[in-house]
Symmetry: C2
Subunit: 159 residues, 2 copies
């Protein structure tokens, strides 16, 4: 049954990408597509974290919040934890997923790398939305090194 949920999410996610990609036409279509997907992710992230943290005690600091995202939040959405979390202790966190679920559908060839940003935008928004609802304002970007491994970089915005 868990496999079913995962499949449902993956299929829906790729339908969204295809649709947004085809609906956004115009000069800067690629940028708009990515930003629409990021915004969707943001709202979904906000909604999810509200449900997940209803019974969770408050976090003691920013690192504690990031650990929650890497373990509990990631597991509930992607069925695995983040493989590696690093920080410079000055507001930058790098979350590495060695087998990112939403990239495993994309073939591994170099010719597909140009599509990778579209496959990461929703998740960047998801993390930004989740953090935002936990009181942490951030900018989240992503990069693929060797598919399906990728890194999400979270830059905390101090208020």
């Amino acid at each position: 049954l868990q496999m079913a949920d995962e499949a449902l999410f993956q299929f829906l996610h790729s339908e969204i990408i295809q649709y947004v990609n085809s609906a956004e036409t115009g000069e800067s279509e690629n940028g708009r597509c990515v930003s629409k997907l990021e915004n969707m992710g943001f709202r979904v992230g906000q909604g999810l974290i509200e449900r997940f943290t209803k019974d969770t005690p408050r976090f003691k600091d920013e690192l504690d919040v990031m650990k929650f995202i890497c373990k509990d939040f990631w597991t509930s959405v992607f069925k695995k934890q983040i493989d590696n979390l690093r920080t410079n202790h000055q507001g930058i966190y790098v979350l590495q997923d060695n087998k990112f679920r939403l990239l495993t559908q994309l073939s591994a060839g170099k010719q597909y790398m140009e599509h990778a940003p579209k496959f990461l935008a929703f998740t960047c928004g998801l993390v930004r939305g989740a953090l935002s609802n936990l009181g942490v304002k951030s900018i989240v970007t992503a990069e693929v090194s060797v598919m399906p491994a990728c890194k999400f970089q979270v830059m905390i915005q101090k208020m």
Copy 2:
């Protein structure tokens, strides 16, 4: 964790509706929106059923297929079974869900009824796609009686 998956699906589903709704502008925008959503559902239904039935023995007849949709398929997507299945034994099946998950987000007032088709289109496509991959060609429509109860009508297309 199951609640998390359900929430993820619900949030994604409502993001898709909102986005498709805003992207489809023009003369017959409402009809196009519903048909886009139905098509997305169709492809997702095809994909899901392929995974679900990999290890399932072949079905003995059309009714057997419908029962699988009402029990196993519905449970994996909506976390409950169809409450009632009826047929006229001439190719029409009515699947009733007394508490349809994707309608529970909509408020129950009469003024929201006009939005109901948009909230049912994806699922109509989902059923049509699943059946199609099991070799059953159909037309699937839906109607809301009292929210969040609804009925999906499947008309088998004989080939």
